[in-house]
Amino acid sequence: MHRSEIVLFLCLLVSCSSDATKELGGNYFLRIEGESTNEILNHEPNKNGIPPAILNYNFNDSFIIAEQKPNKFNDVMHDDSIEYRNGRKALYYWIILKHKNKLVGPMNEVEFKAARNKYKVPDHLVLKSVYY
């Protein structure tokens, strides 16, 4: 095996075994582990985040917004009492008010639009893929 091939192999090995994280401010971060496990967590224990699977998200100084498609079962890392009113095949939306550590969700699309108005989430803060 050539030296360059060994380096490439090692790089691939490292990229497969480590999670990517993006800091979102207010102690929250997005953990990208795989399509069904992407989630938003808080560095502080006992602070709720958004359970998997996060499909799209965005954030600014005040808010984190996210679109989520829940997994078949609730995740142990998150609030186990979350109810998905429209079943687990539907899409749900969440807003985190960073300065208040307040989590609003899961919401349907109509509720999300109303909540954006209520909390004055700017229109230009649009959802984008976690891989963007």
Partner: protein, 175 residues
């Protein structure tokens, strides 16, 4: 302050008929609880009506636009802090009783909000009444003429035109 509490507890939310079934009870409760004030059982001896409000009533859920109240009163040499506005703090100036928006961290005055606590509560009540005249599906800042007119009215209740910039921001008057 009692009138503020009484009138806040009478505020109801409205929903457009087309979206009546789209909202869960849990979601509607966020809106309802944002204006509901329940007595804590404590009675403050303070003469300041804002301090009395956050001591005598549970204000943890009280949200008026981007203003979030808290039951935790913090203070330093210059201010008694009773709420926050986004990341910044709303404080009662200990020297002149004026209500001011203070930048988090630097403690710079961002803008004055009202001449005193009573006037601030009057202005806030007017803001809430304006919000509640819309269904929860509507954006209150869509009608700019109306939003700007209410912002001006609130600034007058707060003590004059010097308070206008805050109410424009709170209500969403962009002109």
């Amino acid at each position: 302050m009692r009138e503020f509490v009484c009138r806040m507890n009478q505020i109801d939310i409205s929903i457009s008929e087309e979206n009546l079934l789209n909202y869960s009870q849990g979601f509607l409760d966020i809106y309802k609880n944002a204006y509901k004030l329940l007595a804590t059982g404590s009675v403050s001896n303070s003469k300041n009506q804002l301090i009395k409000l956050v001591t005598d009533y549970n204000c943890n859920e009280l949200e008026i636009g981007m203003i979030n109240f808290s039951n935790k009163i913090n203070e330093d040499e210059l201010y008694t802090y009773i709420a926050s506005f986004d990341a910044d703090l709303i404080g009662i100036n200990k020297i002149n009783d004026q209500i001011e928006l203070v930048e988090f961290g630097t403690k710079h005055i961002l803008c004055p909000l009202a001449q005193n606590a009573e006037k601030f509560l009057d202005a806030l009540l007017s803001v809430v009444q304006f919000y509640s005249s819309f269904t929860i599906d509507e954006d209150v800042s869509d009608n700019q003429d109306q939003a700007c007119s209410v912002a001006k009215e609130c600034s007058m209740l707060a003590g004059g035109v010097r308070y206008l910039s805050f109410y424009k921001l709170l209500i969403g008057c962009y002109s």
